[in-house]
């Protein structure tokens, strides 16, 4: 196939290529390389490879961050192949494999050798080296090791992520103040802010999610709005929403609590529990929010969606929340996403009105009990797969007697995040360094594993000290 027009066709074929490689590996795990099913899968894979090689001297597949790239072009994540994409990137990481290059002389036999080597290397303690050795004599396929993220680069990335985050919070505060003063608000600017967050989610998801784990800010409402927006975008990304939809989702999530502006400050900032009367006022914020959004922009697609989400985000999946309605209708898809993000962030934050924040892992287990009643069970599954068993900010004790804060979740190994060690094995407080819980020793055993979680709020231990 020739691609005069490298549009949809090219994108689809790139997706097929990654999917077919995953299919091929999975098929080979069950059958021998001489099996008809395997031979068919190889033929199809070769067919796709050759269609790329008609226009290029080589076909290069890179795994960079969360994404596969084909000849330096990012392959969009198609939802129908999500499981295979996840599987393949996990298997690449397991072998520390970052790049595979196919040359025009690649044959069926070479592919068989590559697949066998790929599978066998999975059982080795030094998988990349094994893979390299198996492929030594194959000149039509070349591999490269997965590039480790450089610490210096990480500092830069962290700076950009921080800037994006605080800019969004500052913007949200500005919007709320403008609305209070009855001034006009720029939707163009709001969209640009959300777009920068969507870009961050696509490139630096763990770091931006890490920013949401920092609590204790004075401006809870603004930070909460931004956190809910980030977490919603991240769920949206996970379920395969396209960029434009992610912006819409991020925008409506950012304004989901806009109705709180109407709650008198003396109630909102009250340090003791609300009285029933005060609760009644607080429970009106979804109604106020929907009205504010409609007033803000008049009727158009995003304001309609925003009003719906603002009104529904506390209603609960089974309509047991508030506001109560006379004729319940299924909650909007976006409302269900925002509700999960909202609950999680609210539960893990220390809000003014007498709520002790829950540790992230505890919040997740509470939410798990609510899945199917208060929150959408399927979307919640995606959420847990995204934030991991030990979400960012969790305080954990390791089997090495080290203690640390979960710093970045690992989308491929939900129970093996990257952890910032803050107390060493001898009980000394140290300036945090980061370890990856997927690291293994020479015998193939994990070097570190989580054995216990603690409540970080109880000891005022917070990622802020290390991340900011």
């Amino acid at each position: 196939m020739m691609w005069d027009d490298k549009g949809e066709e090219y994108i689809k074929e790139s997706q097929h290529l990654i999917n077919q490689l995953a299919v091929l590996i999975r098929t080979c795990l069950i059958h021998s390389t001489e099996n008809v099913a395997v031979l068919k899968a190889i033929e199809r894979f070769l067919e796709i490879i050759h269609s790329f090689l008609q226009e290029n001297e080589s076909l290069r597949i890179d795994l960079i961050g969360e994404f596969f790239y084909i000849n330096e072009t990012r392959v969009k994540y198609p939802l129908e192949y999500l499981l295979n994409f996840d599987y393949l990137s996990r298997e690449f990481r397991r072998r520390e494999l970052g790049t595979v290059v196919f040359y025009p002389n690649v044959t069926k036999e070479a592919i068989k050798t590559f697949i066998s080597a790929f599978i066998k290397s999975g059982y080795s303690n030094t998988p990349y080296e094994s893979l390299e050795a198996y492929l030594e004599k194959t000149d039509s396929i070349h591999i490269e090791r997965l590039k480790k993220i450089q610490e210096e680069g990480e500092i830069d990335r962290r700076r950009i992520v921080k800037k994006t985050y605080f800019n969004a919070v500052s913007f949200t505060r500005g919007v709320m103040n403008k609305l209070r003063a009855g001034e006009k608000v720029s939707i163009k600017k709001a969209k640009r802010i959300i777009e920068s967050m969507v870009d961050m989610i696509l490139q630096e998801e763990p770091l931006l999610i890490g920013m949401t784990a920092i609590k204790d800010y004075d401006d809870y409402t603004y930070h909460h709005s931004v956190n809910v927006s980030i977490l919603s975008i991240a769920i949206g990304q996970k379920i395969g929403l396209h960029k434009k939809a992610l912006t819409e989702l991020g925008l409506v999530a950012l304004f989901h609590d806009i109705g709180k502006m109407e709650i008198p400050k003396e109630i909102l900032n009250k340090p003791t529990p609300f009285t029933e009367e005060e609760w009644q006022i607080v429970r009106r914020h979804p109604y106020w929010g929907a009205r504010t959004i409609l007033k803000l922009k008049g009727l158009e697609k995003s304001s309609i969606l925003g009003a719906i989400v603002a009104f529904e985000h506390h209603m609960y999946y089974d309509h047991s929340g508030y506001p109560k309605v006379r004729e319940p209708k299924a909650l909007d898809f976006y409302s269900r996403i925002v509700a999960i993000a909202d609950q999680y962030d609210a539960m893990t934050s220390s809000r003014v009105y007498a709520r002790v924040p829950l540790p992230p892992d505890k919040a997740l287990s509470v939410m798990m009990e609510r899945a199917g009643t208060q929150i959408d069970p399927v979307l919640f599954k995606f959420f847990v797969n995204m934030v991991g068993v030990y979400p960012v900010g969790s305080l954990v004790l390791l089997d090495t007697k080290e203690m640390g804060l979960v710093y970045e979740c690992n989308p491929l190994f939900a129970d093996r995040p990257r952890v910032m060690i803050i107390v060493d094995s001898r009980g000394n407080k140290i300036d945090g360094y980061i370890v990856d819980l997927t690291e293994k020793d020479d015998s193939g055993r994990y070097i570190r594993s989580i054995v216990k979680t603690l409540d970080p709020n109880r000891y005022k231990v917070n990622l802020a000290e290390y991340l900011l």
Binding site: V169, R291, L397
Partner: protein, 544 residues
């Protein structure tokens, strides 16, 4: 590397393309030529370099440090156009496909001032997610408060300054291992479920909004809030109809009707809701509907009937008004379908459309009345039998034929002598449909009139076809007598009449005429021969 002159030329073409793409529709040759030119320019330039990179300054565009474009005019400058939204670099990559070039041109052709779009050029480029066009954006224009980050970090660090890490460490060994959240693997079923939900995500959520606005009315307090929410309900109707979403309008009207019937809201709200009901039947709303129809939106029959059943007779004059203004035939047909339903609610209001100065509106109204089928319409339409436009006249004749009585024949009789042949044909058909003895008498009288012979064969045929409805002996005898008629003068005209008689005998299936018909089988007159053959075949088949 591309020559400076080539690059300058490319930018000039880009400026020209920005105007052309905005001005001309996609199927216009100028549009297509512009697109092809830019595409081939880019391809040529990219043959020499891997990436074509332009740096954007406030009023200048540079390539490899060289200024290739400069314009300080705030309205015209291409550099400023990119610069003001924060674009500082544009990069076109080798292999760029035509569709990316086209979409890029469409984006830069957007009239951001006039079109009231909520997006700027960066948002549009970002949403399009180009693979071969990259850009660098300076986001400092988005920063609201440069000191915010520093202040927030200071606050939060202060809040966590009393962290007791070592206490946590000591106590960690004493606590029990908490229950863990287990990762529930995503199944193919989960993926399918989500894919389905994403696919079902309705682009237009106005129906849900209408639903919630009615719910929000229960939470509203005071006149101001009531008015505000009811105004949103009204605006949602406008929004939905503007996008061809008739379902929202139907749902909203049903909700409105139900809430008024059940009196679920306080009286102040009810009176405001009645205002919305009035609005739906107003000229303003119906004009909006008309605009949507003319934009090519089509609706399902069942939805149109539901909408019509919910609209009141007050909408009739406004629907008639747009009937005269709509540009598309299909739009007019839709309004006709709605009027056919609503018109039943008040025929006299509908009949006002019969006085419209536009002949086609009048004809449409008569057609609608025919569809309604109420005999009361005869009084309204009979005067129009003398309408100056023959198309109206024919519609009246058809309506009278369908709905009139024996007495109507006398009214139609004059039309058998109308100066227009199509009117005469319609009239004879209608007279036939009335199927009274007077009908037959009038038709026979017309056929026997001396002037009838001079009419066209087609018209004569129509008269005889109608006459064949009466299969009685008188009619057959008359037709046989015509067939036997002989004449040496005006032989062609006589033979035409004989052919018509044969045709009618065939339609009747008159076996008694078979022998006579056989006699003319070999007539030299082809028209007579053809009709004799037709008649014999019919009679034979009838016998069979």
């Amino acid at each position: 590397m591309a020559a400076v002159e080539e690059l300058k030329d490319f930018i000039n073409h880009l400026i020209k393309a920005k105007k052309n793409i905005r001005l001309y529709p996609e199927n216009n040759p100028v549009y297509m030529k512009t697109l092809e030119e830019i595409y081939s320019y880019l391809k040529n330039l990219l043959e020499e370099e891997e990436d074509l990179v332009f740096h954007i300054k406030q009023f200048e565009i540079l390539h490899d440090g060289e200024v290739i474009y400069k314009n300080e005019d705030k309205d015209e400058s291409l550099a400023l156009f990119f610069f003001k939204d924060g674009i500082r670099e544009l990069r076109f990559k080798k292999g760029i496909p035509l569709d990316e070039v086209e979409d890029f041109l469409k984006i830069i052709s957007t009239d951001f001032e006039r079109q009231m779009v909520d997006d700027d050029i960066v948002t549009l480029m970002w949403e399009r997610d180009f693979q071969y066009i990259q850009y660098v954006v300076d986001d400092t224009i988005l920063i609201e408060d440069e000191t915010y980050e520093e202040e927030a970090v200071r606050q939060v660090k202060k809040a966590v300054s009393g962290a007791d890490v070592l206490k946590a460490y000591q106590e960690a060994f004493g606590i029990e291992k908490p229950s863990e959240v287990s990762i529930v693997p995503l199944t193919n079923e989960d993926i399918k479920n989500i894919v389905q939900q994403i696919e079902e995500e309705d682009e237009d959520k106005s129906l849900k909004l209408i639903h919630l606005l009615f719910e929000m009315l229960f939470y509203a307090s005071g006149k101001g809030e009531y008015e505000e929410l009811v105004r949103y309900i009204k605006e949602t109707f406008n929004y939905a109809i503007g996008r061809g979403n008739i379902e929202t309008v139907i749902y909203g009207l049903e909700k409105l009707r139900q809430s008024l019937q059940e009196r679920i809201y306080p009286p102040e709200i009810n009176s405001l809701l009645k205002g919305v009901e009035y609005y739906i039947n107003s000229s303003q709303f119906i004009r909006l509907f008309g605009e949507t129809l003319d934009a090519g939106v089509e609706f399902e029959e069942k939805d149109l009937y539901r909408l019509a059943s919910l609209m009141s007779k007050e909408s009739i004059p406004h629907l008639i008004a747009i009937l005269g203004e709509l540009q598309n035939i299909s739009s007019r047909k839709t309004v006709i379908r709605i009027l056919t339903e609503i018109g039943k609610k008040d025929l006299s209001l509908l009949a006002k459309g019969l006085h419209d100065r536009r002949w086609y509106v009048v004809r449409n109204i008569i057609y609608i009345m025919r569809q309604i089928g109420n005999r009361r319409i005869i009084d309204y339409i009979t005067p129009l039998i003398r309408h100056p436009d023959k198309r109206v006249k024919k519609e009246v004749l058809s309506a009278l034929g369908e709905l009139g009585s024996a007495g109507t024949v006398q009214l139609l009789k004059d039309c058998l002598y109308d100066e227009d042949e199509t009117v005469r044909i319609t009239a004879v058909r209608s007279i036939g449909m009335l199927d009274s003895p007077l009908s037959k008498k009038v038709i026979l009288e017309t056929i026997q009139d001396k002037r009838f012979k001079d009419r066209s064969v087609a018209e004569k045929k129509e008269f005889f076809k109608v006459l064949s409805r009466w299969r009685d002996t008188d009619t057959v005898d008359y037709l046989i007598s015509l067939l036997k008629r002989r004449s040496f003068f005006r032989k062609t005209r006589v033979e035409e009449m004989k052919a018509m008689a044969a045709y009618a005998l065939g339609l009747i299936g008159a076996k008694e005429a078979k022998e006579l018909l056989e006699k003319y089988r070999n007539s030299k007159n082809p028209l007579l021969r053809e009709n004799i053959e037709f008649a014999l075949t019919r009679i034979k088949n009838d016998v069979g």
